[in-house]
């Protein structure tokens, strides 16, 4: 019975077995699990927003300005008397909205660029490669600042700009992976069948390079969080009174000179760090399992 089933659908069950194996390996990876727990925690707060926060993250209380951490306000209050804990929790939304969307754009753009470069090779590869080199000679933040000043800054420009900068970077990784696939039998077979290049690229090759793309995407997500934080800190991106983490830091870091009030900066800073660490842990776990 089992044998006949296997015989009937050999490839699919093999594939699903392999997939199951991958998932099991991932679940055995402590770093992967730890990273996911932290990210899921923040996703929960991103989704619920201010619904479950102890206080309204935007509610000002002129009578409770810059109260240190204690009962009532575990993380203290900021200059406007707002509850820092609530703002840190609710601030997950801004970070988890902008960075992943930007990364997604980068992954989609980069995958396309990489497939085209890797599949066609030759002059296309060489030409695009030069343009990418030229583009990447500039630091992300310089490109982003210039673009944001040019187009005017909003959350969406920020997302698109970072996505656009990431595309060529991810494109390079994908290209390398595609180069390895190009000479394989199934690609040659598809060519012989007379399939069109877009079909071969996206239907035949793409599923086989998903691993490196996921790993690269996760690594980029960490950088995206960083880039968004830096740009928001400079005043681009999300605007007050949003409880964004970098915004909280940029609003309050001048206070540190008074050598107290550190909670207004410390907790949002730790929040950013926790997400970046978690994403890196996930990337590590994925890399160990998928790159094999």
């Amino acid at each position: 019975m089992a044998a006949s089933l296997t015989a009937a659908q050999p490839s699919r069950s093999e594939a699903s077995l392999a997939r199951l194996e991958t998932v099991l390996q991932l679940l055995r990876s402590k770093t992967f699990i730890a990273g996911n727990v932290v990210v899921l925690w923040w996703i929960f707060w991103a989704l619920t927003g201010s619904r479950f926060t102890p206080h309204d993250p935007l509610a000002q209380n002129p009578l409770e300005i810059l109260k240190g951490p204690g009962a009532g306000h575990w993380f203290g209050t900021d200059q406007a008397g707002r509850d820092v804990l609530s703002r840190v929790l609710a601030g997950a939304r801004d970070t988890l909205e902008v960075a992943p969307l930007a990364t997604l754009i980068g992954v989609v753009g980069g995958t396309t660029i990489g497939l085209v470069m890797g599949y066609f090779g030759g002059l296309v590869d060489e030409g695009l490669g030069r343009v990418i080199d030229a583009f990447l000679a500039l630091p992300l933040i310089v490109i982003a600042v210039t673009a944001l000043v040019a187009v005017g800054h909003s959350k969406w420009t920020l997302i698109v700009v970072i996505g656009a900068v990431f595309s060529p970077i991810i494109g390079r990784t994908v290209r390398a992976a595609v180069l390895g696939e190009r000479q394989l039998e199934y690609v040659q077979a598809a060519k012989l069948r007379g399939e069109k290049p877009p079909y071969i690229m996206f239907v035949e090759i793409l599923p086989n390079v998903v691993g490196p793309i996921i790993v690269e995407g996760t690594v980029r997500l960490g950088y995206a969080i960083f880039a968004v934080a830096g740009l928001t800190f400079l005043g681009f991106g999300v605007q007050p009174p949003a409880p964004d983490w970098s915004l909280q830091i940029s609003d309050n870091y001048a206070l540190l000179n008074a050598s107290n009030y550190e909670w207004t900066v410390l907790f949002p800073g730790l929040a950013i760090a926790s997400v970046v660490v978690a994403v890196n842990l996930i990337a590590d776990g994925l890399q160990q399992v998928l790159d094999r």
Partner: protein, 317 residues
């Protein structure tokens, strides 16, 4: 070797040309009318037209590009629209400042992080490795502005050990300049340490596991000799590439650090130029940053090939 160099150099020139086109095209994208932006909303239409004509922005785009790039190549960067002085006189000192900060950061971070990576690799899986990896990851995961703020408050304001501003008084000597640059350098070391150490550790482990290292051990060569003669040389190859790519970040990408430490670096100049729509300064500033980065990667490429004979003869990629 010379053919390889020639090819690398030729490619760099092509990339440079493409970069200049990208930079120029991007600054054309900046919306609005140059004269209107500079003269303000109350200026008359004739004045705006006159200003635009005087600055040549009403000419064909290809023409403008040629004028800009031919002047740029000859070192004439034009007049800053914002400050009404030559761009070169502003960007020159800023570039020197950026190079100084980058140099100090490199001098500090490269040995520390390579040492960290090597030690972690040699003690793979043990407590030392864990500590180095975790510290590196944590430091790398905290945005540089947070680290910088913490350093300023602790070492500058509370302990008063180091000056909080990176700008030194005019005429300051070498050591005073270093003293002023230490705090911002520390912030950069914190960001880069984890990254470089991690790459070094990975390269080391790969090299330690490689056949030649095993062979060398089996031949009974002393461990130190194996590590220094055979392993390190190969393990550091990826590290060199990584360090080269960080030059772009260190020169031009530091505007957050430069802002926090009130340092007149090229990133700060670009940032201010972008905000005030100072096109001439923006174009040249961005171009210089690209130039420095491409030079650094070229040098790294050459270094890479010198250390790695396989690349030297096999062609790039």
């Amino acid at each position: 070797m010379s053919r390889f160099l020639l090819k690398r150099f030729g490619l760099a020139v092509i990339t440079l040309f493409l970069l200049s086109v990208i930079v120029f095209a991007a600054s054309q994208l900046l919306p609005g009318n140059l004269g209107r932006n500079i003269l303000g909303p109350f200026a008359s239409r004739q004045d705006v037209a006159q200003y635009n004509h005087a600055h040549g922005v009403d000419r064909p785009v290809v023409d403008q590009y040629w004028t800009w790039i031919s002047h740029f190549v000859r070192g004439n960067l034009g007049q800053s629209l914002q400050y009404n002085v030559s761009v070169g006189s502003l960007l020159g000192p800023s570039l020197v400042n950026s190079l100084k900060l980058a140099a100090l950061a490199f001098v500090l971070v490269v040995p520390i992080s390579i040492l960290g990576g090597v030690v972690a690799a040699l003690r793979r899986g043990r407590a030392t490795d864990r500590v180095i990896t975790v510290v590196g990851l944590s430091l790398t995961s905290i945005p540089e502005f947070v680290t910088a703020i913490v350093f300023i408050v602790i070492f500058g304001v509370l302990l008063k050990w180091l000056p909080v501003g990176a700008a030194w008084p005019t005429g300051a000597g070498f050591f005073t300049q270093i003293k002023h640059l230490l705090l911002p350098s520390f912030a950069l070391v914190a960001v880069l340490f984890g990254y470089i150490a991690r790459i070094t550790r990975a390269g080391m482990i790969e090299a330690l596991d490689a056949d030649y290292a095993r062979t060398a051990y089996l031949k009974g060569l002393p461990a130190a000799r194996v590590i220094f003669r055979h392993v390190l040389r190969n393990a550091l190859l990826p590290t060199i590439a990584v360090i080269a790519t960080q030059t772009g970040y260190l020169i031009g990408g530091l505007l957050v650090i430069e802002k926090l430490f009130n340092y007149n670096g090229i990133g700060q100049r670009i940032y201010v130029a972008a905000q005030n729509k100072d096109f001439t300064m923006l174009q040249s500033g961005v171009m210089i940053v690209g130039l420095v980065y491409l030079s650094a990667t070229l040098v790294a490429d050459i270094l890479y090939s010198v250390l790695n004979p396989r690349i030297r003869y096999g062609g790039a990629d």
